[in-house]
Amino acid sequence: MSFADVAAALLVPVLFPPLLLAVIARTKARLAGRRGPPILQPYFDLARLLRKGIVRSRTTTWVFFAGPVVGLVTALLAALLVPLGTHGALVGFPGDLIAFAYLLALGRFFTIAAALDTGSAFEGMGAAREAAFSCLAEPAAFFALLVLVKLSGSFSLGEMLGPSLPALWTAGAPSLGLAAVSLFVVLLAENCRIPFDDPNTHLELTMIHEVMVLDHSGPPLALILYGSALKLFAYGLLLVRMVTPFELTSTATGVAASLAGLLLLAVLIGFVESVMARLRLLRVPSLLVGAGLLSAFGVMLLVG
């Protein structure tokens, strides 16, 4: 890895993610006939929140602050595990896809604990939903990754999503297609987008993620917003790398292709959010199980 590779692999995950939120918001605004907020609004929001003071509930303990910190750090480290171009990730080792999933799980555990720390019924409700839905999303994500493992004969993200990707698509396009669809559904669920959760809703009873962070304010809230952007970036990069099997040899073109793919993905998410309504909560598990089955079929195509 050259210096430029390292710089790109470090700077892009740090600087780029909030832009995805802005693109989603802009897409939704345009489709609704509005102009939408400025494209740098998420960065302004983060800066504003970091300057503010906080109000904390008397019920809470240090766990309340551990939630945002661990959530941000785990999302950042998970993002560093996904290769930005064909050159491999900054951090990579055999089995790093397990680390990817378990880092995000660590973040989820502390986010849920921080929500329960407030003793609020609403935040408990959101925490319960987050825990339940991610139980179902986890096997779906693993089935999708198994397709890649099986096809590439390797189990580090750098090699699975590396230069051999075009050959994988010629070998197992149907399985990879199914896995990509299922991974997209998991991405929507894990990042609390419509149809699983509505980030803009105003009714606490129906929220999942937003209701878990009701009591956070100021800098901790900034960490949470930034962390969720990073999580979207990490999942999105995984999906984008998977579906863009081009031979791009130089660092610059590889990174540019990934970023362009991510922006397109953000537009797609914005489009999905504009044309769909949020599902009834009771329907969510069946959609997730369906997504899991899709990629399970993908695995069976290769194994059977």
Binding site: L50, K52, G53, I54, V55, R56, S57, R58, T59, T61, V63, F65, A66, V69, V73, L77, F93, P94, G95, L97, Y102, L103, A105, L106, R108, F109, I112, A113, L116, D117, G119, S120, A121, F122, E123, G124, M125, A127, A128, A131, A132, C135, L136, A137, E138, P139, A141, F142, L146, V149, K150, G153, S154, L214, P219, P220, L223, P285, V299, V303
Partner: protein, 656 residues
């Protein structure tokens, strides 16, 4: 020399209770007992360390009984199991100075101390036995002593019932083991536990031995559907005994399985597949049952079923890989399973001890009656949180390392192997992921409900931090969990050495994965600390205010309006309704302004309630007919024994 240390350690443990019984003052008795256990732990860890460093040896006691000389010895496999036994026994013993001291329990404490020491000593004897009779002797001492430890509080009916169920299960387990070693003896002509040469035992007989081992050791380990005794026994026992049961006793089943497999030269495919399948079922159902529990000790007991399932997945994969001659996969899987044995002993006893500290001060085991305990017991809360992160298998603690090794073994199968024989291994990956997700939900639930939020009852408002001895015991276990998580390379050579008992191992295969995990875990910890400190400094400088929790505009929130543990688990328990069959007693609300009502739900054990109990009742009815034989007179029983002997002589005379 090494074995001598181990035997001395066993003698210290076994004698600790008896020596303490000689002291007149309760405080002195407690200290004598703990001191002897500590001496035993030092000697035992020394023996294990020597064996792992390659200085294992054997002692031979000539015996006139058939089956060869009585051999005891410490090899790497024994040593790896000895380490957690002594660590956990010591922690529990120190903890019991304050938890179940002779001052508060004058009647039971002395008896319990004897049973406690003998349980660990018995297991340690099982570990060093190289002769089936020695192993069975240790096994029986452990099993019977554990019965007395579980029933320490035998004035309560619940405790007596749990003890009886445990006794029935452990008898059945011993019966299987007797049959197993009898078969081994008939095939090899020896009771010494040395690997049989290829071709000595017919394959069908080897499979019968394996099946008996699966039943006998599976009962002790708590594999589904043989897990029925775990939850009642863990709930009924004093908490430090629950920790010992979960951390030490059930591992005897795993050790037995590994040791027996090492004795047999061949490995048919179905062994690994059966164990892998049982492991997947145990892991998923164990955690699903745990999620539905309201009693914190029953909940932790079901998590033992889950973790035994994860260990069985590793062992099953190792067997499958041994059958198909893939040594790298077998090593990863076996090393992962063995490390999970050590890890589970550490974090599960830690969780029990932390839960016990809460139970001791609040007097309730019901999760839904607690809440907000972390404010009064910050150290205990931190210890429980560490145990929870470890057991869910999250970085940066030890559970992540062992689960990662098992995952890597499974992923190697997916990446490199083809053929239907491996299908179960492929499916085990998402099953393990599901287990992980459910375990996360379960520990988020129990940590949140017990330690966070507002107190839900007067009992939890009265919580006070545990005394120093208890905190010290928990702290020691936290340090061990963190050490394995952050510096797994310290234990990797031991894993390789222990795996060598079962597999041909090429050394240093574990070094690379373990080194990257160590860096990752250190990275997680360092970056979290960095961001945490930065946030702390920023918050110190900025304006701060405190208020009540925002409850969406509602003016008078109360503690009982919090999301309860049952509500938290409701979505997932509903998803597993087909297996859990919850019993719900909900009132029908008819009028517009309904009166006071109460709601109650519980999840009984499916296997125990639907299968074993009805079968037991039917058996009891059937055997009522032969009750006439039960005269209660020793002479009659001697007559029966003599008649049986004559009958056997006639039968063998006719056939032979």
């Amino acid at each position: 020399m090494t074995t001598g240390f181990a035997l001395a350690a066993i003698a210290c443990l076994a004698g600790s209770g008896f020596a303490a019984a000689c002291a007149r003052r309760p405080v002195v008795a407690d200290r004598i007992g703990a001191a002897l256990v500590a001496a035993g732990a030092v000697l035992g860890v020394l023996a294990a360390g020597l064996a792992l460093a390659g200085h294992g040896d054997e002692l031979v006691f000539p015996s006139a009984l058939p089956g060869g000389a009585w051999v005891v010895g410490v090899d790497a496999l024994s040593a790896l199991f000895l380490l957690p036994v002594f660590a956990v026994t010591l922690a529990c013993s120190v903890y019991s100075l304050e938890y179940f001291g002779a001052a508060e329990h004058p009647r039971a404490a002395g008896r319990l101390r004897i049973a406690f020491g003998l349980t660990s000593a018995g297991f340690a004897l099982v570990l060093v036995a190289r002769h089936a009779l020695v192993l069975l002797a240790g096994w029986e001492v452990m099993a019977i002593a554990a019965f007395f430890a579980v029933t320490a509080d035998d004035r309560e009916r619940e405790v007596r019932d749990a003890g009886f169920l445990y006794l029935v299960c452990t008898r059945a387990s011993t019966l299987c083991l007797l049959a197993l070693f009898a078969l081994f003896w008939t095939a090899t002509g020896s009771l010494e536990l040395v690997a049989a040469p290829p071709g000595r035992i017919p394959l069908a007989q080897q499979s019968a031995i394996f099946a008996l081992a699966l039943a006998g050791f599976g009962l002790k380990a708590g594999l589904v559907p043989l897990h029925i005794w775990l939850a009642p026994a863990h709930a009924a026992a004093p908490t430090h005994v629950s920790a010992l049961l979960s951390g030490v006793l059930i591992k005897a089943g795993i050790y037995g399985l590994v040791r027996v497999v090492a004795l047999l030269p061949d490995t048919p495919l179905w062994w690994g597949q059966a164990l892998l399948g049982l492991g997947v079922v145990s892991a998923v159902l164990g955690v699903a049952f745990a999620l539905a529990q309201h009693d914190v000790k029953r909940l932790l007991a079901y998590h033992s079923v889950e973790n035994i399932g994860i260990i069985a997945i590793g062992l099953g994969l190792a067997l499958l890989a041994r059958a198909l001659a893939r040594p790298e996969i077998a090593l990863l899987a076996l090393a992962g399973a063995l490390l999970h044995v050590v890890n589970h002993a550490l974090f599960k006893s830690l969780l029990f001890l932390a839960a016990g500290a809460v139970i001791r001060t609040t007097g309730t085991r019901s999760v839904d009656a607690l809440g907000g305990v972390a404010k009064a017991m910050p150290v205990t809360a931190f210890c429980f949180l560490a145990g929870a992160v470890a057991i869910v298998g999250l970085p940066p603690l030890n559970g992540f390392i062992s689960e990662f090794l098992i995952y890597t073994g499974l992923l190697r199968v997916v990446a490199l192997e083809t053929g239907r024989a491996w299908l179960l291994a492929v499916l085990a990956v998402p099953a393990l992921a599901l287990t992980g997700g459910l375990a996360l939900a379960c520990f988020a639930k129990v940590f949140g409900a017990v330690f966070l939020g507002l107190p839900r009852s007067d009992a939890s408002r009265a919580a006070r931090e545990a005394p120093a001895a208890m905190l010290g015991a928990m702290g020691g276990l936290v340090v061990l969990c963190a050490a394995i998580g952050l510096a797994p390379f310290l234990i990797a050579p031991a894993l390789e050495a222990a795996s060598g008992a079962v597999l041909p191992v090429s050394a240093e295969m574990l070094r690379a994965p373990v080194a990257s995990l160590s860096l990752l875990n250190l990275g997680v910890l360092a970056v979290c600390a960095l961001v945490g400190v930065a946030l702390g400094v920023r918050l110190m400088r900025g304006p701060r205010a405190a208020s009540g929790t925002w409850d969406c505009g509602y003016a008078a929130p109360t503690a009982s309006m919090q999301y309860s543990a049952s509500s938290f688990a409701e979505l997932l328990v509903g998803a597993f309704e087909f297996a859990l069959r919850p019993r719900v007693h909900a009132p029908r609300l008819a009028a517009i302004l309904p009166g006071a009502a109460s709601f109650h739900s519980d999840v009984p054990d499916l296997v125990l309630d639907r299968v074993v109990s009805p079968a037991g009742r039917a058996l009891a009815r059937g055997f009522g007919r032969v009750r006439a034989l039960q005269q209660g007179s020793v002479h009659a029983y001697l007559l029966y024994v003599w008649l049986t002997l004559v009958a056997l002589l006639i039968v063998t005379g006719v056939s032979g």
